[in-house]
């Protein structure tokens, strides 16, 4: 099944906004937020379509998108952010810690009155690059003529 190109486009869109807003030090909280939401869409792109099976294992199927997945598991008592993080922990542990830290930086910005320094925003950018590099589609090299 094909990858969800909308997730990739949204990840790149947020990344463009991030680069635009990062030119001044006035919106470092938004830099972190955009790093996170860019990463969120890269992660969704990497994860889906996701194979699944009924609890008895008899029927196998795929969730095409994260929205489909979260609708299917809507009875789980956890937030959608946590759900996505759990999926990364299960299927892509290579980037789940980076994603967790970026999510925490974004989530707790309001506890810091939205005042972050360049050190925090640089950390967020470093985490975003790692997640993007891992999740982006491999660049196909055209065959040699």
């Amino acid at each position: 099944m094909r990858k969800n190109d909308a997730s990739l486009a949204h990840a790149e869109h947020n990344e463009k906004a991030l680069k635009y807003i990062d030119k001044t030090p006035d919106f470092l909280d938004w830099v972190i937020t955009m790093c996170f939401y860019s990463s969120l869409h890269y992660a969704r792109y990497k994860l889906f379509p996701l194979p699944d099976a009924t609890s008895d294992g008899k029927s196998k199927f795929q969730h095409k998108t994260f929205d489909e997945y979260s609708r299917f598991y809507r009875d789980k008592p956890i937030s959608k952010h946590m759900m996505l993080h759990n999926l990364l922990e299960e299927h892509h542990p290579e980037i789940s810690s980076e994603y967790g830290q970026l999510m925490d930086l974004c989530k707790t910005a309001r506890y810091h009155n939205y005042k972050y320094t360049r050190e925090e925003s640089n950390l967020a950018k470093k985490l975003q690059v790692k997640i993007k590099t891992y999740c982006s589609p491999a660049v196909s090299v055209p065959p040699a003529v």
Binding site: I78, S96, S97, T108, R110, Y111, K115, E119
Partner: protein, 142 residues
């Protein structure tokens, strides 16, 4: 002479009263079971958070400023762990996230779920905001 027949029937009112009484008893019983379940899960969450706190402090040598707990539901708990800022910004902090993931894997199931949020310490933390988000229990360090 007439003698009154022994009452071996129920009026509609009797039936409704019995239903309401039964419902109330069942409610109390269900409440009791839920409270027992909640209390057990709070103890479990506390024990897990204590072990995480000691691991971070003693093995990872990270200064932990505070640990707060939010009870989202009877089976869902969130820990907010505030650590030294320079520790949080260091590359080595990734090990703490890996450890937190392993703790979640060991403990989370359909009836119990715990998650961890880490943040850097700052002297200007907005405690009102933290409390209003539900992190109202603070771990008294032993």
């Amino acid at each position: 002479m007439w003698e009154k027949v022994k009452e071996d029937y129920f009026t509609h009112d009797d039936l409704i009263d019995a239903y309401l009484q039964g419902k109330s008893d069942q409610k109390d019983e269900s409440k009791k079971i839920l409270m027992q379940h909640l209390s057990g899960n709070v103890d479990r969450a506390t024990s897990i958070i204590e072990s995480v706190y000691h691991k971070i402090k003693n093995d990872f040598k990270i200064t932990v400023s505070s640990v707060s707990l939010k009870i989202d539901s009877i089976s869902y708990f969130e820990a907010l762990i505030t650590v030294d800022r320079s520790n949080f910004l260091a590359d080595e902090f990734m090990k703490v996230y890996e450890f937190a993931t392993s703790i979640k894997k060991q403990n989370n199931n359909d009836t119990f779920f715990i998650s961890f949020t880490f943040m850097p310490y700052s002297s200007e933390l907005n405690m009102d905001c933290i409390h209003s988000d539900g992190f109202i229990l603070e771990y008294a360090k032993k």
